[in-house]
Amino acid sequence: MIRDSHTENTALRTIVRRLASLLLCLFVWTLPAGAAPLPVDEAFALHVSEAPDGGLAFQWKIAPGYYLYREHIEAKTADGGAPLPLETGAGIAKDDPNFGTTEIYYASAEATLAAPGDAPIALTYQGCQEDGICYRPETRVIDPLTLAVTAQGGLVAPKLSLWTPSPTATTADPATDRAPESTAAAPAFELAEDPGLIPSLMARGGVILVLAAFPLFGLLLAFTPCVFPMYPIMAGALAREGERLTPRRGFVLSSLYVLGLASAFALLGAAAGWSGQNLQMVLQSPWMAGVLALLFAVLALSMFGLYELQLPARWTNALSRGTGQGSGSKRAAVVLGFSSALIVGPCVTAPLAGALLYIAQTADVTLGAAALFGLGIGKGIPLIVFSTLGGGVLPRAGAWMDTVKQVFGFGFLATAIWMAAPLLPAGLELFLWAALLIGFGTYAFVHWPAERPGVVLARTASLLALLYGAVLTVGAAAGSNDPLKPLAVFAGGGAAGTSAPPLVFAPTGSTETFKAQLAGARGDRPTMIYFTADWCVTCYTIERSVLPAPDVKQALGGFQLVKADVSDVDPANTELMARLKVAGPPTMIFFDKDGKETAGARLVGDINRQTLTASAGLAMER
């Protein structure tokens, strides 16, 4: 739990070694005669108590025939920091040729630390069994707040061995050899053995499953507004083909476009895997969200015909020069696809946050690139279908095309509002939706002449949009902020969710404070720690729409709530993130009453009411 370096052996190596051990294993249990040395905690039983003056008192009960060295009792801050001034009583000066002039303690030893502070203390001591063994230095970490003592040694003992165990280990199961202090004082926290998404996919089906899963995610994301811009772009490119457009050509061009898109995503995945960092910090910054919202608004206006957005003429010319018109448009399709990713990529990072975090955790460049490449392909599949079918039946550009473009324009405006919403004041979002709906309603009414077919459909849509726009306006004016339940404020006899007091989070910024917070709630109530940051747009949504929801408030009511704000990265919160295996915000981790992480409850990336209440329920049950 505490020692990581030794458990980081790759699983493969462990398996190979285990097999080797099994093959060579010849168990013969022979115990040599003689007084076998005691386990170190029986030889030197450590007891920590609070001294009357507020300091810490360390006492060792030393078994007969054993002794401790005075000069080898040392205390330091556990993070490897400065030595702490320990006071030790005079020992027995042994003037034996075997010892030189060393002071040692028989039977019992004491040391005191005057001002322990709050940070964990590493206490090191060393002794011998008379005429038997000299123990290696033993280090125990003591939490001055809880007086909990934790062994710094590995607690996992090998089960299979080609070595015949020592007699001391045969008196007890090797696994419990060092158990006394570790069970008597549980470690400050314990993480669940919970693999992340990618590791668990890997564990289940290997790389293949990871690679198969991501195109599936991509396919789901393909039906989000973020991906909509690809359609008019593609339609425009196909329209330029004119007479030569066939289903086959539509398929080839759109496939190349998607290939370009997927390659750009692969670069993103490689960057995530390579850096091991949360790229979200950049992709999810309010700046990026704001710029994208603006970009979508600009695209929308272009769709309405205010201006024509195209690649600069020089680029398109350069692309279509060379080996003739045909390969020119193919190359253009790849470039278009690649550059489209610049819009689509950041736009979908909110739902992608989880996947990106997991990729960052695996720190595997190839896997990251392959997974996101698959994601890009998945996103493009509907587009390829659309282009192939459309290639045969699409009428030539004309009035028809303009209508489609304008409908897309509304879609882009919706995307812009959606992107910007977390950054806007709470009430404004509803007004924007209302304005969009009323605008769309009016447009549909005005632009669909009565003699055109489908007029009933168009007018129905128009009226519905106007009606809902009006309802949203009323809701927004009444202080509602849920676009889907704008009138809930009237139903509940007050603004929804204001009945219960808001959830209160205690701040935390380091492993030490968090340990103390966990210790404070031990045996009393479970704890939830929430990692958030200013630059995390998804976190805005969580804080605005998820946490204030009444069911969430109720589910989290019995928890100690702790919030780690990692907007500013510093060594203390970096260490906390590393210790809790957190790749970035938003992440929520649930600990039961005993400070043990609830398996399967951890939430990473997107967090909504359903997942949050479900996880809270899991942690509460324990």
Binding site: Q129, Y135, A157, S545, A549, D606, N608, R609, T611
Partner: protein, 208 residues
């Protein structure tokens, strides 16, 4: 709430969650790998005392400041010599701080000139605690040049540091409490072994 981001994010996360859900296998407990016989008893960088072709290997994890290691050393050497068919591998495991590291480094550095057995013998013949100077004095007494040994080590520090790291990792894996700890054949013995204990351990090892 099904809105905005949540709408699509929820779908992606839902898939992700269910994918993670049905693959929620308890992560394989990472058992600590044990070192192999070859790694422990046949480290090519550590010289062999006794008979290099012997049929039984004794490995002693020891420290040059450990009083009992030194007290028991003559018995061990006698048994190895009398038997004539034992490989003795002294595994340096410095647990008493800087002087112990220095002594181990000097002795291992002496193997280049073939003086390793002399260095071990000289250091094992000292009493109790050692200062750096006492170590150097003992080495000089055996005809070695501490400064030259130090220079040789400084030129290629990874070599001996690597030996010490391997030894430490093995001691850690065996969960040795301290020094001396022995391996005779493939059996592990904690704490000092006298002549009798050694002889019976060797006999057991030969029985297999």
């Amino acid at each position: 709430m099904i809105t905005r981001r949540n709408l699509l994010a929820g779908s992606a996360a839902g898939i992700a969650a269910s994918a993670a859900g049905f693959t929620l296998l308890p992560a394989a407990l990472q058992a600590q790998g044990m070192p192999t016989v070859k790694e422990v008893l046949f480290d090519p960088e550590i010289p062999v005392l006794g008979n290099p072709k012997g049929d039984v290997t004794i490995a002693e994890f020891f420290d040059y400041q450990c009083p009992y290691c030194k007290k028991a050393h003559p018995d061990l050497m006698e048994v190895v010599k009398a038997d004539g068919n034992i490989r003795l591998v002294m595994k340096d495991w410095p647990i008493f701080g800087a002087p112990s590291f220095h002594a181990a480094t000097m002795a291992l550095a002496a193997q280049k000139s073939g003086a390793y057995p002399a260095a071990v013998a000289a250091l094992m013949a000292t009493d109790g605690r050692l200062s750096l100077e006492e170590i150097n004095t003992a080495l000089r007494g055996a005809g070695l040049d501490p400064a030259a040994l130090q220079a040789a080590h400084d030129k290629k520090p990874d070599w001996i540091n690597g030996i010490l790291r391997r030894n430490d990792a093995q001691a850690e894996a065996f969960r040795f409490g301290g020094t001396p700890s022995y391996i005779v054949g493939t059996r592990i013995y904690n704490g000092v072994m006298d002549k009798k204990a050694l002889l019976s351990a060797i006999a057991d090892a030969r029985k297999g």
